[in-house]
Structures are given as structure tokens and as C-alpha cells.
């Protein structure tokens, strides 16, 4: 359940930015999470609700944008989509894949008042 630590890091970023912009409340947070990242979005939402209690971001809505996973397939010599680590190349079935995209965990923007 490392989502707790990730939620705490998230809150720290959100609160610092909100305070820096003289906000009194954060109403929404947009996150980008890669499909191959280390977090489970339901667990993160649950943990964030818990850590945000009593903060500027209490009750803020989390809008999670999932970014697709992508890998470089060595046999195919091209980029292919990858839904999970350990999956084979959807074109040739090889596991000789180098993940190139999909492990993002980013706070993109926040709505404040």
C-alpha cells in the first residue's frame, strides 16, 4: 500500500502550489498515471481522501487520466502498445520489449478558489 506515501507526496505538491497562489480551497486535481506505473488508481483515490482531510484539498475531486503503456519491440523494430508488464508484443508475441512510456505519475493541474 505504497499509495499512501504517494498520496502524501501528491498532497504536498498540491498544497504548496495552492498556498503559493493564495488559494483557500482546492476543488479538483488532474493526475496523469501511466498504465505501467506503480499505483493503483482506486487505492490512490482512497488514500488521498484520507490524507487530504483537514487540508486545503479536503474533498477535492481527483481526475485521473491514464496514459497508455508503450514499448519498443526489438524483433518488430517498432513501438507497440503494452497494457501490462510481462505481456508479449501484440504483433509478434515476443517478450523482447523495452518499455518506453507508461510509468508516469504526475500532478498535472489543480483547480483552486
Amino acid at each position: 500500500m505504497h499509495e499512501m506515501a504517494i498520496a502524501e507526496s501528491m498532497l504536498e505538491i498540491v498544497e504548496a502550489t495552492a498556498r503559493g497562489n493564495a488559494a483557500v480551497r482546492v476543488s479538483a486535481i488532474w493526475l496523469e498515471l501511466g498504465a505501467l506505473s506503480h499505483v493503483e488508481s482506486h487505492a490512490l483515490t482512497f488514500c488521498f481522501d484520507a490524507v487530504a482531510r483537514g487540508s486545503l484539498a479536503e474533498g477535492a475531486r481527483l481526475e485521473i487520466v491514464t496514459l497508455p503503456g508503450e514499448a519498443w519491440c526489438m524483433p518488430c523494430g517498432e513501438r507497440v502498445g503494452l497494457q501490462r508488464r510481462g505481456d508479449p508484443c501484440p504483433r509478434c508475441g515476443s517478450h523482447q520489449l523495452e518499455v518506453v512510456r507508461g510509468d508516469e505519475m504526475r500532478v498535472k493541474e489543480i483547480a483552486i478558489a
Partner: protein, 349 residues
């Protein structure tokens, strides 16, 4: 604190002493009252009600979070990474008279940026000391501590060794390491499920100074959470024992993907268990193509030589890199000294 699993930090202890996290999350009821200092001045007395058009840069109020501030109340088209249609309600409400306007601030910051920055600092600190640093990760019970004890004995003092031990509770593992004569420090994460870079940095500072050798960081036994946290190590080494299922690399792919070496431990028990080592290696290489593997037994010492050789090579490379840096620095100092001497000896006009 997570109400489901109790996971989270705040209970971290290093050698039984509470670890201060002064940089931790501050909580405020409304953001208008806080006692701690911020970089840059900003007042909180204004409400911004109706002030939709003031300049984004009017605040010395920003903290350098990156990303400009702008008002997006008309800009959300609902496509791609744009907020979903549901966001329109809130943002539209910004126009209601007498209410604070809602505005959107771009951040674009990696959630783990703070941990990654501390990991970078740790990595530099380790490089300056010529240390080859390994982050040992596995399920509980794979034999990490027994392997370390056996490894330290097999190294026979050829290189200095120090150990940072991570567990939720007790100093048992650090005690076992110290019994070998190697310095060790125990981190108790309390409810935490993984080590982070900040805790490791502080634990390292509490260790007796160690140079030009090996530093092992034995992470909390957990095949999920430590995968996300860079501690500043040279490599994550994942340990899988034959008493576990050979399909663990497929079940826990993030950790096997993050690792640079797989140790298959307890191979002395292989005849007694249904563990298919070839399948385990195949599965591990599906998530991490080309992953090097060493099969060994911490109990009998079988296969240990390859592991020791790998460690000594890494330690020698880390030492050489540091010495190379020092040598380059010495050359530069000597160049500067001769330059100064030349100027000092130059005839004055």
C-alpha cells in the same frame, strides 16, 4: 495514516530514535493561517473575489513550483488530458457573484520528484565515497539477511561493508549483521511498507564512515511497494527463493522489472520442492529482458562465488570512479597552483 492497512509514515525510527520529518505535509484548515515560513512573501488577507483579471505574475506569491498560472474557465474542451465535462460545473460557478473564482493552475510535476531528488543526492554521496550500493528487495522470508551474513563472511574483509536494515519493527536484523563485525543501522518503518530516499540518507549519515566498498540496503520484505522508490542505489537486486512460486515474476512484474540482478536463493532445497528454476528465469526475463541471474544457497554456499565476484567487480568500479574523480581534481589543483605561481613570479610593471 491509511485506515485500511495502516500504511504510511510518521512512525519511522532509526535505531529506535524517532526520525524527524520536518518537511512533512502541513495541514491547514483554510490555507490562510500557517506558522511556518515560505520562500517568498505572500499575504493571505485578500480573497480574490471577482478579481478575475489580475496578472498571473502578481504574486511574489508563487513558490517556484514551475508552470504558470492562468485562468482556464473558458478553455476546457473535454478532450485528451483536458478535464472531463464534470469539471465545467465547478469552473462555471466561478462566475457567481460574491464567490471566490475558481481557477486552474498548471503544475506538471512528478509525484515522486522529492524522493527522486533525495535519491540523486544519496547517489552523489555514495559516489563521492566510492561505494557500490545495492538495494535488496524480496518477499519476507526469502533469506535476505541470512544471505547478507553469509556474504559478509565470504568477502573475508576484502572490501569494507556496511548495511542499512529496513523492517517495520525490531532491530533483530541489524543485530545479526553486527554480529559479523560489519557496521549496521536499523531503520524501523513502523507502519511503512518501504524505505524512501530521505530515510536512507539519514540512516547513512548515522553509520560509521565507510569508503570504497559495499553498502547493502536491505529493504522491507515486500515485493510491491519498494519498486517505486529510488534510494540512490546502483542496482536493485531482487531475491526469489525456491520455496516460493516460480511465477512470482509474472505476479509482481514491477519489482522484477526494476531489478538489475535476480538471485535465486535456497537452491539446496530445490530437490524437496516443486520449483522450476528455468521457468522462474523465463518469467523474470519476460518482464525484464536480459536480466542476469545467479542461483545460490546462503546455507551451503553453493553458487556464492559468482555473487561475490559480481560484488567485488562492482565495488572495484565504484572505487575506481571515485579515485578517477579525485585524480582529475588533483591534476586540476596542480594546474591552478602552477598558474598562481606563474602570476606570483611575473615581474611587476
Amino acid at each position: 495514516m491509511c485506515t485500511t492497512c495502516g500504511c504510511g509514515h510518521g512512525d519511522t525510527r532509526i535505531e529506535g530514535v524517532a526520525a524527524d520529518r520536518s518537511g512533512d505535509v502541513h495541514r491547514h484548515a483554510d490555507g490562510t493561517v500557517h506558522a511556518h515560513a515560505h520562500e517568498g512573501e505572500h499575504g493571505h488577507s485578500h480573497t480574490h473575489a471577482g478579481e478575475l483579471d489580475h496578472s498571473p505574475d502578481d504574486g511574489a506569491s508563487r513558490h517556484g513550483q514551475g508552470g504558470g498560472l492562468w485562468y482556464r474557465r473558458h478553455l476546457h474542451g473535454g478532450s485528451g488530458s483536458e478535464p472531463a465535462a464534470g469539471a465545467m460545473g465547478d469552473l462555471g460557478a466561478a462566475h457567481a457573484a460574491g464567490m471566490s473564482p475558481t481557477r486552474v493552475v498548471t503544475i506538471e510535476r512528478d509525484i515522486l520528484a522529492k524522493n527522486d531528488e533525495q535519491a540523486r543526492i544519496n547517489r552523489q554521496m555514495f559516489a563521492d565515497r566510492g561505494l557500490f550500493v545495492l538495494n535488496l528487495v524480496s518477499s519476507p522470508g526469502s533469506g535476505k539477511t541470512s544471505l547478507l551474513v553469509r556474504t559478509i563472511a565470504a568477502l573475508e574483509g576484502r572490501v569494507p561493508v556496511a548495511v542499512i536494515e529496513g523492517d517495520q519493527q525490531t532491530a533483530r536484523d541489524a543485530d545479526r549483521i553486527r554480529a559479523t563485525g560489519a557496521p549496521a543501522i536499523q531503520i524501523n518503518t513502523g507502519k511503512g511498507c518501504h524505505l524512501d530516499a530521505e530515510t536512507v540518507g539519514r540512516a547513512f549519515a548515522s553509520l560509521p564512515p565507510v569508503q570504497g566498498g559495499l553498502l547493502f540496503i536491505e529493504n522491507v520484505g515486500n515485493l510491491v511497494c519498494p519498486a517505486a522508490f529510488d534510494l540512490g542505489e546502483a542496482h536493485k537486486v531482487v531475491i526469489l527463493s525456491v520455496t516460493e512460486g516460480e511465477d512470482k515474476p509474472l505476479k509482481y512484474p514491477d519489482m522484477f522489472h526494476a531489478a538489475d540482478l535476480l538471485l535465486i536463493n535456497k537452491i539446496d532445497l530445490e530437490p524437496h520442492v516443486e520449483f522450476d528454476a528455468d521457468a522462474a528465469i523465463d518469467y523474470a526475463r519476460r518482464v525484464r529482458p536480459g536480466l542476469p541471474v545467479i542461483c545460490l544457497s546462503a546455507t551451503t554456499g553453493e553458487g556464492l562465488a559468482a555473487w561475490i565476484e559480481w560484488l567485488l567487480q562492482g565495488a572495484a568500479a565504484a572505487r575506481a570512479a571515485r579515485d578517477g574523480d579525485i585524480e582529475a581534481l588533483r591534476r586540476r589543483i596542480s594546474e591552478l597552483e602552477s598558474e598562481v605561481a606563474r602570476h606570483a613570479n611575473a615581474p611587476t610593471a
